[in-house]
Subunit: 371 residues, 2 copies
């Protein structure tokens, strides 16, 4: 087969329209999950939940960064008691992460938790699930059935191995149990540390339930590798229309998880928050300090919420093209830069003034005064 030019192809795929799988809608407090709602960004606190001040400080910090939901571990009664102080003061809904002990779920609900995460691998006794769901139903709280390949129900593993089928079955069993009890405010997740396993499991589950899905690659790793595994795995699934809420799991600060989650959603055009920067990799053609300029502009515009597209490019090969299609663009030349504003050439400016000019223009576009 040699390469064929065809003259009659319409530009049908230009915006690569992703077809979102429509799930039913659940609610975690005031936050809708699924049913066509935007993909919700969540994270998990890594403080000791018993330390109310530290946990609240971190929740405030991740909320400021764009987390819309936050989960906290509830490993013991003292952590459960801390929820009575944490939940009413938190700026975003707090989901209690429960393992093993059903009484901690009851305690979290008493504290007003708008959501619980239950792991069917270690909490699946029908009597206990019944008690939890009854109380959650009374309060309008959501339950996430959160399966993790690292803590799979041994009976499921025995029946179905450690693959996607065992993960899906483990979730479906607990979902059915809850639904049969008349409880429907559900979210489900299947997480593995292996990207392909996660992708296969989520796809399988999506064929069998319209329950909204929470996506994540678990134990993804540190900032270097975890970001990449999460971006690949969540990227594949989101791009094919799966996923109603996401968490990026990193061995690192939860703020980094939130930033990464937003970047993944932005990269697929699903949501945006703050300016997007297009910048070239720099090569032997680059004649300005592009890394320095980009860093300077990003710093100056940190916190700006308008979703502007800003291109900071090093040379005249791709610079003008990218620059013209961005809201603001600079194409570098020797010691200077050509500025574009919404596709129009504005002029040439010396390198030293570029950061200031880009900041001023961006703030003007965003309609915000410099703070």
């Amino acid at each position: 087969m040699t390469s064929q030019i065809s003259q009659d192809q319409p530009d049908h795929a230009s915006s690569s329209p992703m077809t979102k799988k429509v799930t039913r809608r659940s609610w975690v407090g005031p936050i809708p999950i699924g049913g066509g709602a935007p993909v919700v960004v969540q994270t998990m606190a890594n403080t000791d939940t018993r330390d109310v001040a530290a946990t609240l400080a971190q929740i405030n910090s991740v909320a400021e960064r764009g987390a819309e939901l936050v989960r906290v571990a509830v490993p013991d009664e003292k952590a459960g008691r801390a929820l009575f102080e944490i939940i009413p003061q938190a700026p975003i809904p707090v989901v209690a992460d429960i393992h093993f002990d059903w009484r901690l779920a009851m305690l979290a609900l008493e504290a007003g938790a708008p959501g619980l995460r239950l792991n069917p691998g270690n909490l699946s006794d029908p009597d206990k699930i019944k008690k939890i769901s009854h109380k959650a139903g009374q309060q309008g709280a959501a339950i996430r059935v959160g399966v993790n390949s690292g803590s799979l129900d041994p009976r499921m593993a025995q029946l179905y191995g450690h693959g996607p089928e065992a993960m899906a079955q483990s979730a479906l069993k607990e979902l059915s149990l809850l639904e049969d009890l008349g409880f429907h405010n559900l979210v489900v997740s299947l997480k593995a540390s292996d990207v392909r396993l996660t992708v296969a499991a989520v796809r399988l589950l999506a064929e069998r339930t319209d329950c909204p899905q929470h996506l994540g690659i678990t134990e993804a790793g540190d900032l270097e590798t975890g970001v990449i595994k999460s971006a690949v795995g969540l990227g594949v699934l989101l791009h094919e229309g799966l996923g109603d809420t996401i968490r990026v799991s990193l061995t690192g600060p939860p703020e980094a998880e939130v930033d990464c989650a937003w970047e993944i959603l932005r990269s697929l055009g699903l949501r945006s928050r703050g300016p997007e920067f297009i910048s070239c990799p720099t090569c032997g053609r680059c004649e300005i300090d592009l890394v320095g300029l980009l860093k300077e502009v990003k710093n100056r515009l940190r916190g700006l919420k308008a979703p502007l597209k800003i291109a900071v490019m090093g040379c005249v090969v791709n610079g003008p093209g990218e620059g013209k299609r961005a809201d603001l663009g600079v194409a570098g030349g020797r010691g200077r830069g050509i500025l574009f504003e919404r596709g129009q050439l504005v002029g040439q400016f010396p390198y030293e003034s570029l950061a200031q000019i880009l900041e001023d223009k961006a703030r003007a576009m965003a309609g915000e005064a410099k703070t």
Copy 2:
């Protein structure tokens, strides 16, 4: 629709077998691209090519990091002349990146370049392409037709817009020109800074040619955002079996591009290099300094080439599960850790000794003496 448990589903999707699109095979020096060869990792030097020493130093550095091909910019004759010194001393094949001036392509070939990258957006005159391909053919050099949405041939943009169709047509036109001249040692790439546009363009092209594809998200951004965009875009494409060689473009050091490329390939089980670390995100259940332990173990094992899977986990919820399925695994508890070796419980060890024990075990498994 409520959630259905089905009892008769085989574990068919367990390893999520990706079907690789089979392309024809091209060669850049001794490196096969396509035709079933492993996905090749490449990067681009960002030194001034005219500075031979700096460029060679960087090429050696990226080769050590795992780059299998490297591209250098050839913006002028002096850079072209530098290739006469760079190419014979480089440990990996050097591809000359040519824009605008066909004579620089001829010069690069004279210098022995095993590959050229030509941009149809600024070099498509049939007479010039004929001269270049004739000489490249004589020398067995490869040509990559590298389309970039930022420097699209204006005639193609006029005919087809700025979407995937225009990008694909631009490439197909130049590929056909070369193939009609009897030149077949080709690679093709369609890069955009927009992930969805890149994905759509690459898919479109894959339907119309069996020429091996080089993948990249261009002008992806800096280390924070560029890594994520590249991982999402290349992840989606590689997961569906497209792509024969990849470059991660970052506004940053090319060494980081190489690391990121390997992590993307590893995350999809396509290739591996060195140990893979599974580590949990730490939460309120974590009772050891997991971030510190992970960093310590990674540092101790840097440079180890054996593809071991090492789980460093903070607690007993998912720790034992992940630990058992890794080559080596630690599940943390209060001030100590439980060690697993190939699924077998080895014993409990104090926190302070864990890094040393993991290092020793990993080196023993890798059959390497401590250096």
